[in-house]
Every structure is written in C-alpha cells, then in structure tokens.
Symmetry: C2
C-alpha cells in the first residue's frame, strides 16, 4: 500500500468507527504506538522524580501526587484516589558476614515483613540446604540454634513459570522456625549471576524469625563453605512497622462515547521495592497502560466503552487487589474486562482473553503476538480481587526470559529497559484495548471468566 493510501485509510479509520473500521483504527493505533514517546517519558519520570517507592516511604507519598498530576496532564478524566489502610514494614540497617572459618561479608537484603534481629544481631552456625524441599524434610528441632539457608536455584523460562516454582522458598521462615532455626536466609529468587540480592515479601505462615535474601553468589559461597565444615554467620536486620500507614489506588478514565458505564480496567502498580527504582516492576506497567489509553484518548472520537487506568497502590505487600474489589463490587457486572501489566517491559509474545475478537489476530500478527485459544488463568496480582468477584480477565504475556535477573533488586532501573520493546507493549495494549472498547462483546460467563 502506498504511503498516501495508507494515510488515507488510517485517517478514514480514525474518523469512522464501524467495526471493520475499528480493526483499521486498531492497526493505526498499533503503528503509532511503536514510535510514541509517552510510555518512555512516563517511565523516565517516575524512576527519576520518585525513584523507589515502597509503601510507608516518603517517596510513596510523593508518588500519589505524581500519579494524579500525570493522569491529569495526559488528559484522563475522573482522576481520583481511593485510600485504604495498609500497615507498612520499613527497612532499617542490614548486614551479614561469615564470621568463621573464613571471614567475608555477605550481600543480603531483608525480606518484606521480616522480624528484626535482636540488637547486636544473631550469630549462629548455618545449615545449608540445596532445595526448599530438602529443608522441609528435616525433623522438628533439627535446626535448633541454627541459621537455616536454602540455596535453591530458579529456572529461567520465557513465561516466568520458574518464579512460581521457586518463590515458595522466600516464605520459608516459618517452616525453618518450626524446626528450631533462629534466622532464615534464602538464595535470591533470581535467574541472574549478579551479587545484588533480590528482596520480596516473606509473607508465609509463622512462627516468624528474621529472614533475608542472599545474593546468588553469596548463597553459593555459603554452600561451598558448609561443604568444608561448620560455618558461623552474623546477621543484623533492623526494621519497623508503621501500623497507621495508608495506601491508595489511583485511577483516571477515557470516557466511552456510547456505553460509558461499561468499563475496561487496565493498569499497573504504583508501589515498588526499594533497592532499585521500580522500572520494570512496575513503572513499566504504569507507563505502558497509561500510554496505550492516552493514544486511544487522542483519537478523533473515543471508543464506545470507557477505559479506566488504575495505578494500584500496594502490590508488593498485598492489599490493593482486595481494596479495589471491595470498593468496586457494585460495579462488577459493568466491568467488561480487567488486565494488568506487571511482568516488565520486554516484548509481549501472547495475549489471551475469554473470547475471540474479529480481526484481533491480524492486528497482532505484525507485532509477533499470538492470540491464545486458551482463556487466561491469571492476569495479575492487583486484579485477582476483581477476578474472584467475577470480572473477566485479560492475559498479556511478556517475554520474562531476563525479567528475574533484575526483579526486586538494585538492578531494576531504567538502564535495563529496551525502548523498542516497551513500545511494542504499548502497541499491543492500545490496539487490543481499543478493539475491546469498540466491540460489544460481553466476556462475562465465558470460558475462563469466573
């Protein structure tokens, strides 16, 4: 097709949203998204002007003003903040070292919700296990007075399934405590070789003991030392709880032109862990979904249905999914579908939804995105509450091959974001969400919707 004809078709498509025209509009949105600067600028803004924003931190409070201002500046309407109580765990000074037989510092980071160590720290011999299952095989009392160490590697996969298989170990402090351990150290849930430890919520059942993640090389180091004999480690973890902290889910809308009360919910989460700047987890999710909605808002006419972008406020420590579902339970029948971008900024390779949309395959094909015939099982932590309440969900799968090299670590910064892949995400979300918004498809009651 000539450039002139292409411009004509695109212009016609933008002006005349019949459903056939909608497919053309979706294709035009897709192509525009590939060079649009909104997502990059939004991601640069949050990582530069806010940086790490764990709940309970001053930066998290600043991120509230940032989010409201950003949504308004991008032309969203009905921008508002929904506050909910969420006690916050606040990190203090942390350190660890091998004391004997060969003194050496260890790279560690406390796990979210971990208990602090007593003043002066804990010094104890370690018991190292090559897998979490191996620790669970130990009888009660067998770890008495010891620091339990689980050195279980994580498998690298495109779909991120290696995380699900490995992350249980991060919540293992209760199981270690039941066996008598005085503290718990877990190899970072990471596919990388870097020394920066990866934090995350410990979040398991009690009884609780101080718990931290080791850098990958540090976990291997303890295993190597333990193979030589008794190893003594000193651990210091300080932390505090703010029981009165609040979190907030923040949203803005692109109002639908015909069925404004039918709402498509998309978004990413505003909070992040603290060692990096929260670029891939999940500044990218915010950047991608707001940029996609903004591109749709810039069309000559809005699509039929309303698009709502939500910046969920407490994903890493939980809470925003339940708060959002509770606040919006009356709206459930009118929520068309919900989707979250929370697996970084690398290219999308698959989308899944409860029912097909005419033309979707063709729109996705140039982006090398497969439309899955299987409905999604999981769409993201922050929409799990809506999903449970019966809202159909959307699955957008990022290539997660390298995501867990950086996730929850100091290396989660803008430096690891590939701008072309970020924009491919925007192209997927913009064209997909537009087609859903323009279609009259009711996904409720379809396979995969609960």
């Amino acid at each position: 097709m000539s450039k002139i004809l292409l411009a004509f078709v695109a212009a016609a498509a933008l002006a005349a949203p019949s459903f056939a025209g909608s497919v053309e509009t979706a294709a035009a949105l897709r192509d525009k998204a590939l060079t649009d600067a909104t997502a990059w600028n939004t991601l640069e803004s949050i990582t530069t002007e806010i940086g790490p924003r764990p709940i309970g931190s001053p930066a998290y409070l600043r991120s509230r003003e940032w989010a409201v201002a950003k949504l308004k500046a991008l032309g969203f309407t009905a921008v508002h903040v929904e506050t909910f109580p969420k006690p916050a765990w606040i990190r203090g000074a942390e350190s660890a070292e091998v004391v004997a037989p060969f003194p050496q510092k260890l790279a560690i980071i406390g796990l979210g919700s971990s208990l602090p160590t007593p003043k002066g720290g804990i010094e104890a011999p370690v018991a190292v296990f090559g897998s979490y299952a191996e620790m669970l095989e130990q009888p009660p009392g067998s770890l008495k007075g010891k620091i339990a160490v689980v050195n279980q590697p994580m498998t690298r996969t495109q779909d991120g399934s290696g995380y699900g298989a490995a992350v249980e170990a991060r919540s293992g402090d209760g199981e270690a405590a039941k066996r008598g351990a005085v503290a718990y150290l877990v190899r970072s849930i990471s596919t990388g070789t870097g020394r920066a430890p990866h934090t995350g919520s410990s979040g398991g059942p009690g009884p609780h003991i101080p718990a931290a993640a080791l850098g990958v090389p540090d976990a291997d180091l303890l295993a190597s030392l333990a193979a030589r004999g008794t190893v003594r480690v000193r651990l210091n973890l300080a932390s505090s709880i703010n029981p009165k902290a609040v979190s907030f889910n923040i949203s803005g809308e692109i109002k639908g032109r015909e069925a404004a009360d039918e709402v498509i919910v998309i978004g990413g989460h505003l909070d992040s862990w603290d060692p990096g700047t929260g670029a891939i987890d999940a500044g990218a999710g915010i950047a991608i979904t707001t940029a996609a909605a903004k591109l749709i808002a810039d069309l000559p006419v809005h699509p039929r249905r309303t698009i709502r972008v939500v910046l969920w406020g407490s994903e890493e420590n939980g809470g925003s999914a339940q708060a959002y579902a509770e606040a919006h339970k009356a709206e459930v029948p009118k929520l068309v579908i919900a989707g979250e971008s929370d697996l970084g900024a690398d290219r999308v390779y698959q989308v899944a939804l409860p029912q097909g949309i005419p033309g979707l395959d063709e729109v996705m094909a140039p982006l090398k995105v497969i439309v899955s015939p299987e409905p999604p099982r999981h769409g993201g932590s922050d929409i799990a509450g809506l999903q449970k309440a019966g809202v159909p969900i959307l699955g957008v799968s990022n290539d997660a091959t390298r995501y867990f090299d950086y996730h929850h670590s100091a290396d989660d910064t803008l430096a690891i974001v590939d701008r072309a892949q970020l924009n491919q995400n925007v192209a997927v979300w913009a064209s997909l969400v537009y087609l859903i918004a323009e279609s009259g498809i009711d996904f409720h009651g379809k396979p995969g919707a609960k």
Copy 2:
C-alpha cells in the same frame, strides 16, 4: 584417530621430548587441560576461603598464607615471598543521595586513594558532563563549589580497548579540582547496566578531592535530573591510609631439566578490589597460570627451562611491577619471556610473542586461538617493570566482551566464571608455555622485545 591410538601417541609424546615430540606433548597437555579441575578448584578456593583481598586488609594478609600453601600443595618448588613496602588506602563507610529536587539514594563506591569527605559529608549542586573531554573544556573556577559529574559511557569491545579509552575519566578529580569542584563523581567504567558501582584507583595528578564512582544507572539519573534544573547531592566518603603496610610478590617454580637458570615468568595478581570476591580480577589469572604450570610439572620429565609462577601482590594500586623488576634486575638476561593473565576467564582468542615457535599454530588451532604475527605491545601491568628492563613479553588475549560488565564491582564473583572457558585458558597457557620451555628460542632482541 582411534581412542587407543590417541592414548598411545599421547603417552609416547609425554615420554619422549624431542622437539617434534614436544609439539605432540603440547597437544596432549592442551587436551588434558580442557578437563582438568585444578584451575576451577584454585579459583573456588581463593574466592571462598579468602574472598576480597585489597592491600591493607586482613584478608590480604591471609592470602599470603593461602598462596604459599597452595603453591607447595601443587608441587611447586622454591616457593618464596618477596615483601615490599606499599602504603594502603582503606575504605570506610560511604553513601550518597540526591537531596533536591527529588530525594533518592545513589549507588556509589569510593575510588582507591580518594580523599575522605569532611565529617558530615559534602552537600553541593552538581555539574554534569556527558564526557570527560567536555569537563576539560570548562574554564578554571567554573566548577567552584560544585560536585563535578562525568557521565561518559564505555564502549564494549572484544579486546578491552574500550577500557583504555574510558578509564582516564576515573583519574579526573585533579582536573575537576583545578576548576573549583569540591568533589568528583564518575560514571562507573563499565559496559554493563547493573547498579553495582565499579571502583578502581583514582590515581591521577592532584590537587585531590573526594572521588567516587556512580552506578551506571545513577550516573544517567543525575544527567536526567540535571536536565530538569539544579540538583543537590550529598556525599559521604570515609577512608584511611596505613602508611606502614607491606605487599608481597609470591612465587614458585617448576625447575627445568636442562637449562634451569633460563626462566619463563608467568602469573596473575593476588590482590583484588573489595566489592566482589576477585574471581575474574584476578583469581582467574592465578588459577589459570598455576594450573597450567602444574600440568607441565606432572609430565614424566620437566621441560628444558624453568617455569616460574608469580602471584603479584599489588596490581590494583600499583607497586608490584616495580618491586618485582627491582628485585630481579640481575636476572633479566636469563628471563626468557614474561606473561600475565589479567583479563578474566573468558576464552583466549589470540596469543602474540616476539617470534614464532614451530608447531604453535597447529597446537592452538583446535582451541580457536590465532597466533598473531604482530609481537605484543602490552602483556599485563605486573610485568611492565620487567618489560621496561628488557624482558621479552607474551600477549595472551582473552575475549573481554563481557569482562567490564563485572570488573571491580560486587558482581566479580565465581558465579560469572564459565568453567569450560576457564579451562580453555589453561589449555592455551599450558601448551604455549611448555613449547617455550622446551624450545631453545631466545626472544631477547626480537621485534616487540625492548
């Protein structure tokens, strides 16, 4: 060739060192090296039992005992320690943060020999430059009261030449001070995207001011912030000097069977920077060269000439090259050639020496190593003193493509070492050094030898 015939030829080669037989022995050594465990075990030992070993640290002192014991255990003779005075710079607590307009912590690491900041630190506005040349263009006084920041990227190259082009910026505190700056921050001399900052010696001419390296993303962050307006940074660097510290060059020999006074000097350096465990810089150099010499020592008969492995004691802060050359100046005419392994453990792609050796190309071919027709210009920092004194040098080029992702940072650990490539290094050094030791070639006075 059948396995039985191959074993026969190898055995015959090991037993009968005519020079044609030497080529066969070199090939047999090469093949044995590819599966030999000595290098890996040595590297695992130093990173696990000693860890980071900057001069002036307790670990550095322990590394002396480690080195003597390891050389003796591997069967080296004439093991001895040459002590020399070397004042040591000792790192203290360090931190930095953006104070305004958007508070955020910065990942930094003090540069070796940096001055400490005054108690309470330095807080000042920053002046950010995209290259070191750009800072040098500024007139005197133009940086008065400011923290100078150089955000100059390093180019990734196979031969490591990007380092030479970029590293001058690390010694720029004197130039910043001349223009009035109160402190100096330089983007890590790194090809990576990780947040772990890369240290190194500041080592330039004065006047000196406190100087530190920024994580790569942190340097970009300051540039992004500076593009928005005035940025204030707070910097705290503590350090001290031990003026009475000593370093040591430690060596052991495989005595030659015919010309024991003709000595081939090879080795790596014992000291390391402190954030990692000194695996690629330069535990690997020690592991590779000792393993190569050990394989040669295990032959039924030693080669004609003596092979000496030297573990140089102060490469990172300088001093061992001069001390070694001074202590061995009388020996220079008898030093056949000198070589150092100090560019990590990734595969060797080229060797260079002042003159060809019959059969060398054929021995190197299966290792995918080119024998350069050009004599080497540089063999390693620790043999620079010998080179200046007239000792011919050997150039062994590692693929340095990813070396500077990790170099001088916390990520320099055993986790990034590829065992197969480590052994390819041993195969190169063992076969090459054996051929030199067995040959009667005099490299003195040849092209490239000074």
